[in-house]
Amino acid sequence: MTEYIIQTKALEKKFKTVHAVRGVDLNVEKGDIYGFLGPNGAGKTTTIKMILDLVHPTAGEVYINGLNPSESGVLARQGIGYLPERAQFYRNLTAYQTMEFFAELKGADKAECDELLAKVGMDKWRDEKLGTFSKGMVQLVGVAQALLGNPQILILDEPTSGLDPRWARALKDIILEMNGKGTTVFFSSHLLFEVQELCKHVAILNKGEVVIEDTMHRVSEGMTGKPKLVVRIAGDSAPAVEVLKNGGFTELEIHGQVIDIFIHSEQKAQVLKLLALENIDVEDFRTEDGNLEDAFMEFIGEDSKPGGEMRGN
């Protein structure tokens, strides 16, 4: 039988006005990188908070290593590194003092404080107060504290929010490195492509319910989720396809007058310029950034929102 390190059974949370989580079953295997996906407001954060017993479930159960955190909280929370979404810490403490504080709570070796600050590039600001930091810098300190004491489980809630792309990539390396050392990583995201390259298993939450829980591979068969530019050509799309292919944009999907061009968002100006140069009349265009909402719609078979709307980056 598979050993589950985190398990939730029929987990339910009703707030006064919102039924945020409706019977969620999750099964996270030991040693996994587990993506917890869903559009904003799907109930991801509430579920994570219930796993950690920060929010008390209305019904259902949570098990961490077989322990129920609402009964044996101290034992269950041993060896967990957690980074909530957009956390702020203490304005008057320095980066090092913040690390030292959490190291003491975890019983971690204090030598790790400096090592981890260096790992997230914050060693230069070791003795500066957090009150003077930007959001991204605070987030990096948050990442560093979550890594203290070589956690057995790493729970990250939208960890890349507030990070610049360079550090978002570095965070992926850190996740892989920790996982290589045996840490189970559970992280939430509303961006599919962020999860796609990392996760072995994934659950998708929508409106408080799990839509699917399966391997990343099986789930991604159902949807592309890649960033794309969608253009609607006035008249026949064949010449435009020709132009795009000659221009080196070969990943195309053609639906009549509409062409989906799979590109990175930096390239979209280049595509539009190319079409304009070749006198191809673009009626309308929009970008899709691999946002889960779009991918999710694709997955459940509904078409994404009608065109004309410029979204994403």
Partner: protein, 279 residues
């Protein structure tokens, strides 16, 4: 339930470092020193007056200022940290909510005590040079001032555990403060309005037991001033034409019990609210 004292110490140390560095705590400490010395000078007519006289002059101001510091330290403890998200990280560790609450109380209480001991202590040492006859009374005054602060700290932390948002707990803090300021006057009003008689002066001087008892139980400011007088072995006080003598059953140990109840009961209630709370 096992309590891990190391966790309490860690939280307390953090609160102490985080708050002692904020400027307004320093400012208030300096205000304590200056106010005490100025009061001592004013009443001493050129030189410093005795500790006893100084304290009688200063305690009304202390009873207004100390609750403000305590409420400022306490009102935001749970609401603020819950809103910023740092409490989420703290509570994801192997620590109980009781340890977090006690650690915060100890840490913030230490900030408060440091400010009071430094402020009134430095002023006290200066006065001691002139007159050192009442040092023990002055020490009791400082301890009682700390206890007054801890009462308001405990109360404001209780509301911070109960209420969901910082603005609400700030409102509660302001409410607690005004209750502390006016309840004595309200009680006096009730007494004067319900008791037949026309000579207000003699009525105030001959308060019945129920009135005196409810003042001590419900009005921290009056209880604080009364206990400070008892600390100097004074049993009557003449101010502004009033000469109030204390009945025998009001003793310092009994008042210390009231302080303790005011500190402990809100903490227990606060723990109950905090434990039930969704962070």
């Amino acid at each position: 339930m096992a309590i891990n004292f190391n966790n309490i110490k860690t939280i307390a140390k953090k609160e102490f470092m985080d708050n002692l560095r904020s400027k307004w705590i320093m400012v208030l400490t300096i205000i304590f020193i200056l106010l005490t010395l100025v009061m001592s000078f004013v009443q001493g007519g050129g030189g410093l007056s005795s500790m006893e006289v100084t304290v009688v002059g200063i305690m009304a101001i202390a009873s207004m200022l100390v609750p403000i510091i305590a409420i400022m330290l306490g009102y935001n403890t749970i609401t603020g940290e819950a809103e910023s998200g740092s409490l989420l990280v703290v509570l994801s560790n192997p620590i109980t909510r009781l340890e977090v609450l006690l650690g915060k109380f100890v840490g913030l209480g230490s900030v408060l005590s440091t400010s009071i001991l430094l402020g009134f202590g430095i002023a006290g040492i200066v006065i001691m040079v002139e007159d050192s006859s009442n040092v023990s009374g002055y020490m009791i005054f400082m301890v009682l001032t700390i206890l007054l602060g801890l009462m308001f700290l405990s109360l404001s932390m209780c509301f911070s555990s109960l209420l969901k948002r910082t603005v609400m707990s700030l409102g509660a803090g302001i409410g607690i403060y005004f209750w502390g300021m006016i309840i004595g006057t309200v009680l006096m009003g009730v007494y004067l309005a319900t008791t037949p008689g026309s000579d207000l002066m003699s009525m105030a001087n001959n308060m019945p037991d129920w009135m005196m008892t409810s003042m001590m139980l419900l009005s921290p400011m009056d209880m604080y001033q009364t206990s400070t007088m008892l600390g100097f072995s004074m049993t009557s006080l003449s101010t502004g034409g009033f000469s109030v003598s204390l009945p025998d059953y009001i003793t310092l140990p009994r008042l210390l019990v009231i302080y303790s109840v005011w500190i402990i009961v809100p903490m227990i209630a606060g723990y109950f609210f905090f434990n039930k709370r969704d962070i």
